[in-house]
């Protein structure tokens, strides 16, 4: 064992002399996670505010409603959520929609208020930006809600709408009896709606005792980052094992065959030093996840066990992979393909549940799935029970891969093929 540790320590010193590739391998998952956090939130500063809805407003109507809508779009509640660009007509509106990358253009035609007051169906238009896919749908949903509120508001005014409009324009104030009747009727309707609609009596909220899955309880980065971490570790592990094939080219390992160390000790020391680098990278990536993306990794003991198993499984897998390829080029090609396919199928980017049913089962044969899912469970506050199956699967994979990888590498080494 002492020989293996000495060899591994020397190998680590050699690797530490050129840390560039390791640092670059660490930078890739961090860069991807950083972009995700900037775009969708989840950093230490909390979730990012959703981008404001950029809307072009073309108000051809000159009734009081247009003033109300224009004012409402600029009040403090909508500020920061809605960015309204004004245009004088449809043509200018369409030009602004395209040039300023707004989500949609809302056009209120001439006579909109009049139609509404006089009991005809009032129609307004929403023209969506075809070069966007998400925000135009948000604008449409908002416009549908506005349309419903205007309908409810019209119902509230009842038959007194025309009289009230006249009053707003300075007419009808001399008819005190009619005025009193209209106000009494309006008061009655407001009384019926009060406590029902202002604000609405029904609201949605988080279910009790379900913080992980509840609305708003889902932490995007705590879900996404473990996947990035696993993928990054696999690429890093492959890079470390690639070192064996570089040594094969330089003939340094062959020369060790005439040294007073057994072949298995050389191979074991190489696997051990690679595991130590992967382990250090795992700790660094977890630290970066906490520091930059606010990921809480959960209970220490299950986390330590899962982490150790992940490191062992990743190292064993990469050892086996590089025991099966002949050249560095083959190693690069095969490891890139295998790791990328495992990451896609294993749920690094998209949960397996979102895949077609026929493909979901494939996630369970990937190491990525067991690794990042265990970290995700722990990050969501769960403990031993939630990760027991993951730990068993990772342990089985680690044992099988390390054994097979080490034996195959030793055989190649003894034959002088390493």
């Amino acid at each position: 064992m002492g020989t293996i540790l000495t060899l591994a320590a020397k190998d680590l010193r050699r690797r530490a002399a050129a840390p560039g590739p390791v640092l670059l391998n660490l930078a890739i998952p961090l860069a991807i996670a950083g972009m995700l956090a900037l775009a969708f939130g989840g950093g230490t500063g909390g979730g990012a505010d959703p981008p404001p809805l950029k809307l072009v407003l073309v108000m051809l109507d000159e009734g009081p409603l247009s003033e109300f809508l224009s004012g409402a779009s600029q009040n403090s509640q909508t500020a920061g959520r809605l960015e309204v660009l004004r245009a004088k007509d449809r043509q200018e509106g369409l030009a602004r929609l395209r040039e300023e990358e707004a989500a949609a253009m809302a056009l209120f035609p001439e006579g909109f208020t009049r139609d509404l007051i006089e009991g005809r169906q009032a129609v307004f238009e929403l023209v969506k930006n075809p070069s966007q896919s998400f925000m135009p749908l948000v604008a449409e949903q908002g416009a549908e809600v506005l349309s419903l509120y205007l309908t409810v508001g019209r119902r509230l005014l009842g038959d007194d709408a025309a009289r009230l409009q006249g009053m707003l324009e300075g007419e009808g104030w001399s008819d005190t009896a009619g005025l009193a009747l209209a106000l009494a009727s309006l008061y009655g309707r407001i009384q019926s709606a009060d406590g029902m609609l202002f604000p609405p009596l029904i609201e949605t909220g988080e279910p009790a005792g379900d913080p992980g899955e509840a609305r708003g309880g889902f932490d995007f980065m705590s879900w996404m980052y473990p996947g990035m971490l696993m993928m990054g570790l696999l690429f890093l592990g492959a890079g470390q094992m690639r070192d064996l094939l570089m040594e094969r080219q330089a003939g340094t390992l062959r020369r060790q065959l005439c040294a007073p160390v057994a072949a298995w000790q050389v191979v074991a020391s190489k696997v051990l030093s690679a595991a130590l680098v992967v382990g250090a990278a795992h700790v660094l990536l977890m630290g970066a996840g906490s520091a930059f993306f606010g990921v809480r990794w959960g209970s220490a003991l299950p986390l330590a066990l899962v982490s150790a198993l992940i490191v062992a499984a990743v190292t064993g897998f990469c050892a086996l992979l590089f025991a099966l390829v002949r050249t560095e080029r083959q190693g690069d090609a095969v490891s890139g393909i295998v790791i990328m396919v495992m990451s896609l199928m294993g749920g690094t980017f998209i949960p397996p549940q979102a895949l077609p049913e026929a493909m979901r089962g494939m996630a369970y044969v990937t190491m990525n799935h067991w690794g990042h899912d265990a970290l995700r469970e722990l990050a969501s506050g769960k403990g031993w029970a939630a990760v027991a199956a993951h730990a068993a699967a990772l342990a089985a994979m680690a044992a099988a891969f390390i054994l097979a990888g080490t034996l195959l590498l030793r055989r190649r080494h003894v034959r002088g093929a390493l």
């Binding site: 972009m35 404001p52 169906q121 930006n129 549908e144 393909i337 896609l344 077609p356």
Partner: protein, 361 residues
Amino acid sequence: MAREDLRLTLRDRSSIFWIFLAPFLWVWFFGFLARPADPSGRQVSLTVFQEDVSAAAERMIELMKGAGLKLAVVPPAGERPAKAPARSITIPAGFGESIAARRKVTLPFSQGRDANPEGTIAVEVAVHKASVRLLAEEAFGTLDPAEDAVKLESSWATDRPRPSGAYQTIPGNLVMFVLLSAMTYGAGLLATERRAGILRRIAVSPAGRTDIVLGKLAGRAAVAAVQVSVFVVIGLTVFRIDWGGAPAGLALLLVCLILCAASLGLLAGALFTSGDAASGAGVVATMVMSAMGGCWWPSEVMPGWMRTAAYAFPTAWAMNGLHTLISWGGRTPEVLPHCAVLGLIALAATLAAVRRLDPAR
């Protein structure tokens, strides 16, 4: 020199995977499997746990159905699904009584990990609309949606394809993988050649410095051109992508993208002396530029400052140009500004690479 570079790249199995196979695996996975072609055309599912049997609860369910949701209703004594649904809402016991007594009532709403945000917004809006309509009916009597006082007419500014499904992933991956190949394999190969002293040896040949740099640039452009051609052809034949009505504009934009990617690959290769370092830095730079430029997701979901900052990178100009042609049906003159910016970036990167690439050093 360009032909030789192309030959060397195509001989490498790893580069074949990353240049020609990985992009389509990516496109297939994200564009074909994970998203339908038109998210606005699908019905969003919602499971309703009905714990109240009042008329108000029944009406609420009816109104949610009318709002376009695909409902799975679990009645009060019904068996709950073994697996938690993607989205669920509970109509609690005493819902009807609370409405009649004008007491506030909360409908617990849950969403699972696999619930996509577009669907969740649609569900929240639909539930809100159903509850407002229910309350308005309680206050004023029946409120038939067909007789609403206000009607919304919604349409798209053009009838062109929107950037979702393959229309987001094909342009996005085209831009990303062309840059990725140039900035990893292109840059790595050049850095390795410099380290091995191959450029110094070429310098003693009759080829001048300009010939060498242009040859290397053309080599990277040749690989990018092959990659872009494969993307366009597969887009047309497999994914049936409508690339817009301005083939000249599309060709010009893609040529500018190719030159820009090739020159950035050349610059990255000139900046690093180790192939691994050049490739690694190329991956990181490409990931950042692609994410900010709207290759990974629709750029409108990013904060405003990121959208503005993205225009410092070629990815944003290329993606905006492609959306202009594909989704707005733009003509060639409309992508000339995009081409000009990409061309300027290419020129600046080439000049910087020329300064660094002195074959005598």
